[in-house]
Amino acid sequence: MNLTLTQKTKPMKTIKLNNLSRILTGAGILIVSAFILTGCPSNQNMLDTSDAAQKVYVAPGDYDSYYAFLSGGYSGQLSVWGLPSARMLKVIPVFSQDPETGYGYTEETKPLFNTSYGFIPWDDSHHPHISQTNGNSDGRWIFINANNTPRIARIDLTTFETKEIIELPNTGGNHASSFVTNNSEYVIGATRFSIPYEKDLDVAINSYSESFRGALTFLKVNPESGRMNVDFQIIVPPFNYDLGRAGKGVSADWVFFTTYNTEQAHTMLEVNASRNDKDFVAAVNWRKAAELVAEGKGKTMSAEYYHNYYEGKQGFAVSKVNNEVTVLDTREVENFIYYLPTPKSPHGVDVDPSGELLVAGGKLATVIPVHSFSRMIKAIENEEFDEFIDGIPVLKYDSTIIGEVENPGLGPLHTEFDGKGYAYTSVYISSEIVKWSLETFEVVDRIDSYYSIGHLMITAGDNVNPEARYLLGLTKTAKDRYLPTGPKQNHPAQLYDISGDKMQLLYDFPTIGEPHYAQAIAAEKIMPNSKQIYEMEENDHPYALTRITENRVVREGNVVRVYMGATRSHFRPDNIEGIKVGDTVFIHLTNMEQEWDVVHGIAIKGVPNSEVLVVPGQTKTLKWTPTRTGIYPFYCTAFCSALHQEMQGYIRVSAANSNVPLTWVTGTN
């Protein structure tokens, strides 16, 4: 049976247009005429269904050619997919607790959520970025930002586990993040909301212009371990710094941020931050800035931010609190940051594979402006400045601009590249993707997206060497695209073939959370390094059980530690007595298997926590404070063997004043 739901119109468009013309009094006519100029809306251009099916079909047992990492948005996680089949491979828990695995519920992982505001088990993850070597994704780690309580996480791509989360000081909404520089020297963050940058400053909101400042953050990455630390921040005028990208090739020493709200509005930004014809791209010479910091040109400010990471291969994540940060204030130090006027409320600056072209789609602009890096350098040398804002030279627009893409559609946002001379820009309001030439700046192709596209992603599309295979459009509403599931549909993604002259729609699938940005990397860059087990010999967890005969229960006052082993198909010990109401019980469960993908879990009746899943060779800890006497059954939550249902046990909890001795047994009935 074929169900046909007919809602193929785009109500978004008219709504947004109404809104816009209200906002942009006078600019309305311009926008309408731009709409007319874009001509007929782009079309579906889908391959014959069977051709498209063949292009996304990956036979059972065969592998996809790309890993794609899609941010989870308000889910806080990072999902992993195979392309072109769009099989979901995994959801990596990052900023949100995950009862499926026990991430954020186990004693090992809980410290990852510590911040200067306390334990925060959720965030909004936006822009995943894979570590790079010479401007190409290398597949060692993937970083992702937390947009709400500003943090950056690092995920190890040998285990696909979150290994580190660091908080950013002086930041309100870490949106322009977590992009890496050419050789992963730095990961960048930036404040989307400017805020008072002195810690906990209590001021009137309407003192915005005097008291509020922006902060651009540079986290140095240890090339061996991947561990991050806040090297320095740049304190900048109180605009909104919303997206960033590192340069590459000729511009490898630079990073670029887009700004909006140069109006410095603090209320009704929809209107008040949309008045100026141009906002800015901020260009930062990070190498120069780092040198200035090394020369002692920065100043130390007090701050409070958490850094959570693992010290060994296993064990408990640790939380270290940092109390100061080095800042470069543009009012005091100069010659490392410049503003490039850019129309209008730009949302993203993307750098072409050569590093020469800076594309900054303005979400309210009628063209896509393209700046030239070499012209920018020349303009700096010749001091072609319009003005200075808090010590930052504002370059002349005509000095840096090299082209404007006409008729890109309404609301151009993000751009990636195919390495064959073309750029692809997502266009939100008219809900389409436009392909244009980096030589002529002319649109050569356009195709619909369903519906209202945000970011787009090309396989290795931000690398020095992009792979012109697939483009993934990450769209904001699904509406009628899939079987309805009530008032809220999951966010869609559409896969396009971009190997030919024309973009062709191949596939359309629902995702998890709200993917903002995504990255895709050739499978062979990750697959050979993916770990199958944690080696038992290397288990450095302080409560690991590495000899099954050493399973035991130890009481230290009212703390009881259970050193438990799991193997198919039993726990040792599996009968425990002598635990009392009011004790704090730690179950340290070691999975003693060394076989790939043989996972054990533990769940205990009445424990106000999630289950705990333990992968081969790993030790995980469940904390439990029993409040009622009785017999507590526990069992293995992972279907591990034919006798999985037999993998169970009992814990006896007695009254606080009882004399039941502490005993533990296995196998003697």
Binding site: G61, M536, E537, R547, I548, T549, T567, R568, Q594
Partner: protein
């Protein structure tokens, strides 16, 4: 020329076999070089000494105490959850295993349990009896040899 052709055919067959099918996806693949396809095709060596990376019979010399201690440590870490010397646990008692099996067989069973329990008649029989597939525990060939040395010291006789 003929032999070259034969080598190429064997190679092609090997590539085909390893390119498809579950066998290559088992963790045993690190150490397994065996290509036995079914029981009927087992060689008499394989019947006696098992299927796996050890393709020459092991001869036991004088007891090497260094190996015994190494084998004991590995056994305690990676085997003892399922095996004791005198009682059935998850798997069979091992006190007398060297009286029933050759040292080579024991090594191949440790190093290639997945294929053994699928193809070797004795291992298949035990799987039917114990109903748990013996896992590969991420050990090297020298480790398996050390475990054999340790098992020598555990023999009843």
């Amino acid at each position: 020329m003929k032999s070259l052709l034969r080598i190429t055919t064997v190679l092609a067959l090997f590539v085909t076999l390893s390119a498809c099918g579950g066998e290559t996806n088992t963790p045993d693949k690190k150490t397994s070089t065996a290509t036995a396809k079914s029981e009927s095709e087992l060689t008499s060596f394989q019947l006696e000494h098992g299927i796996g990376p050890v393709v020459e019979p092991i001869t036991l010399g004088e007891l090497n105490m260094e190996w015994v201690e190494k084998g004991r440590a590995i056994f305690e870490m990676k085997c003892e959850m399922c095996h004791s010397m005198d009682n059935r646990v998850v798997g069979p008692a091992l006190g007398d295993v060297l009286e029933k099996r050759t040292p080579t067989y024991v090594m191949n069973m440790i190093l290639n349990p997945g294929e053994m329990t699928k193809k070797h008649p004795e291992a298949k029989k035990l799987l039917q009896e114990y109903m748990s597939i013996m896992p590969f525990q991420n050990v090297e060939r020298e480790d398996a040899r050390a475990i054999v040395e340790f098992l020598r010291t555990q023999s009843d006789s």
